[in-house]
Amino acid sequence: MKDIILKAVPDAVIEEKQKLTVTVEPKQLHPLIKALYSNKELPFDYLINLIGMDWGEKLGVMYLLSSSADMSREVVIITSTDDRQNPLLYSITDMYEAAHLNEREVYAMFGIRFINNPDMRRFLLDDDWNGFPLRKDYDADSRLNPITIVNKEIKDIAPFIMEDADGKLTEGTTRIFDENDYIINIGPQHPSTHGVMHFRTSLDGEIVKKIDVNSGYIHRGIEKLCENMTYPQILHFTDRLDYLSASINRHALCMCIEKAAEIEVPARAEYIRVIMDELNRISSHLIAWSAHCNDLGATTAFIYGVREREHVLDIFDKTCGGRLIVNQNVVGGVMFDIYPDFQKDVKAFIPYMREKLVEYDDFFSHNAIALGRMVKIGNLTREDAISYAVTGPAGRGSGWSCDVRKHKPYSLYDKVDFREIIRNEGDSYARYMNRLDEIEESLHIIEQLVDNIPEGEILAKVKPIIRLPEGQYFQSVEAGKGEFGVFIESRGDKNPYRVKFRSPSLAAVSAMPLICRDEKLTDFIGIGGSMDYVIPDIDR
């Protein structure tokens, strides 16, 4: 791999950190990534994360790339610019569709504009937002950005910067929608956008012509908040990202900190964590199933799904005193030990859930109307899934083996037996079935673990104030919606210098305009249900 890198860019700085890290000049970034992307043996075609950075004097971007064929191979590419007034970097949207929204987010947060990105509007923030919040010199004076109660106009005109063949930069604008388009707002206050997503949809009769994703209606600035907090304090934010996979997200952050601080987690804690994760995954998939059915108009199915989920929540409630936001994982172990009847309750739940899965099949999976609404609707090919970085049950529905638990095993996942559910159709129905199958696999994992929880401590000895050694740390887990990643850059303080979360839902949403094109308005909602995104996860 180093050969490829050095062949493409001879003066790249290669370091072996937690991951292979390459630092290049902005001009060389595109050729380097192109070389990695197009190499035959192991194409680095999966953009896991695109992280904007402010190193004080320099502004830059970090790319975490991986290969769809072998997800354990990862490379970090760093590039940066000195110009803080008008920072310009090169876009990689021509190779990775996933980069579109990510680059727009970096623009909103850091003010870095990307050359050759066709749509350089701000993502998450309003167009007239003063300042770039994630820069270290951001002025948080509330008078600059007052609260308003008057709707702002949403601009249809997207600026861009293009570089032509001789390296000349030209700025221009494009229209997102035509003058005469019939544009309808789906969201933010809408029953079926799974939160507060805003899809501006142009319709041709009933048929969706174009979708413009507009997000940020729940952007809470978690990453900025993290920079002023100690590591234990950050933990509670992860629960509130993808609140349906609260425990799993928190597990990721805990593991990232533990890895950096070299804390050994007791075996009992690991077992509890994995059982809780899988229970959480079941509850997440149940909500996904329910919401999907509800989107297709089956309210009763929604009620059934939530009913089964209550059993999981009861276990959570008794274990850690929270139903949705569980607060279970802490750095070095878990906060609460299991309660005496934990095993009994979990073991009662497993056959119950299996029985209900059969009922779900009778009720919905075979239903002629439901099939008409799902089969061959919202097709996402494997190539597109990789390019848009759609992971999780949705990505696996397109035939891409992308289960982090298999490819980059963490915690106990290399010790338990489970199968990765893959379907090749790439339609709504494949995604739908994948979720139901994954519930079954999760039950299987829990079955193996629940009787073997070892005795012992639940919490390792951790210093009262945790300081991570200087460096960059990554950790990915398989959350309910796909690969959830945590990145921490530490300067050795008790606060992180920069925290970034990879959101699986962002990828799912960015693929929506592609898979909904030429589908009917009704199916647009159904496809959204099958992609199963959680908006606070995207907006952070």
Binding site: P146, T148, V150, V196, Y217, H219, R220, N228, R240, P536
Partner: protein, 220 residues
């Protein structure tokens, strides 16, 4: 009106918390004196209103899921006659603000609230909607829905469990039952004007006269 007379089924009146705030509210309403006939009519109308609060779930994040859980089989909002969730604000009586309200969402919240038909009530569900909760220090979070719209009942929790939500809704029923129908007090609503700034001029909006005056921002 004595608060002891406000009856909620299966919940003793003395068990309710925060009775003094409600008492103060009633005293304010009663300042003009009340007519017995109107009182009876009021009771009938309030009975209808209190038991038929159709919610509009302004669900932005985690609390929205708990709201859904409350509507589902285990908790069942329908028992209170509130399962008819209306997605159009025109038909809803109660707005459940469940989740964080951020700067970008503020105008929308206000618009949806404005478009609701009278009488309308607002419940702030969860820490975020009450005060900004975990994100209170963030640059993009409005510290509580009360900065945008008047809130009737605050339900703390992060997220509150469905029973908590029910308790809050019972509190709201109490408040609804204490109101006077032939009284226009509710129409002019209290605001926190300091935070509402006209984006064009940068001045504070005069919200007190907002209902009487034509839209100052439409430029008509």
């Amino acid at each position: 009106m004595d608060l002891k007379k406000v009856k909620i089924k299966a919940f003793p009146a003395e068990d309710f918390k925060d009775t003094d705030t409600l008492q103060a509210y009633i005293d304010e309403l009663n300042a003009n004196g009340t007519n017995v006939m109107v009182g009876k009519l009021d009771q009938m109308i309030n009975w209808g209103r209190a038991n038929s609060l159709w919610p509009l779930a302004f669900a932005t994040s985690c609390c929205g899921i708990e709201f859904m859980a409350a509507a589902a089989a285990h908790y069942d909002l329908a028992r209170f006659g509130m399962e008819v969730t209306r997605n159009s604000p025109r038909q809803a009586d109660l707005m459940v603000v469940a989740g964080t309200i951020v700067h970008k969402m503020g105008p929308l919240l206000r618009r949806v609230y404005d478009q609701m038909a009278e009488p309308k009530y607002v419940v702030a569900m969860g820490a975020c909607a009450i005060s900004g909760g975990p994100f209170v220090n963030s640059y993009h979070v409005i510290n509580g829905a009360e900065k945008i719209i008047p809130v009737d009942v605050y339900i703390p929790g992060c997220p509150p469990r469905p029973e908590s939500l029910f308790y809050g809704l019972l509190q709201l029923q109490r408040k609804v039952k204490a109101e006077k129908f032939f009284d226009n007090k509710r129409i002019v609503r209290p605001y926190n004007p300091a935070t509402l700034i006209d984006p064009k001029t940068g001045e504070a909006l005069d919200v007190k006269n907002e209902f009487k005056a034509p839209n100052p921002l439409k430029g008509k």
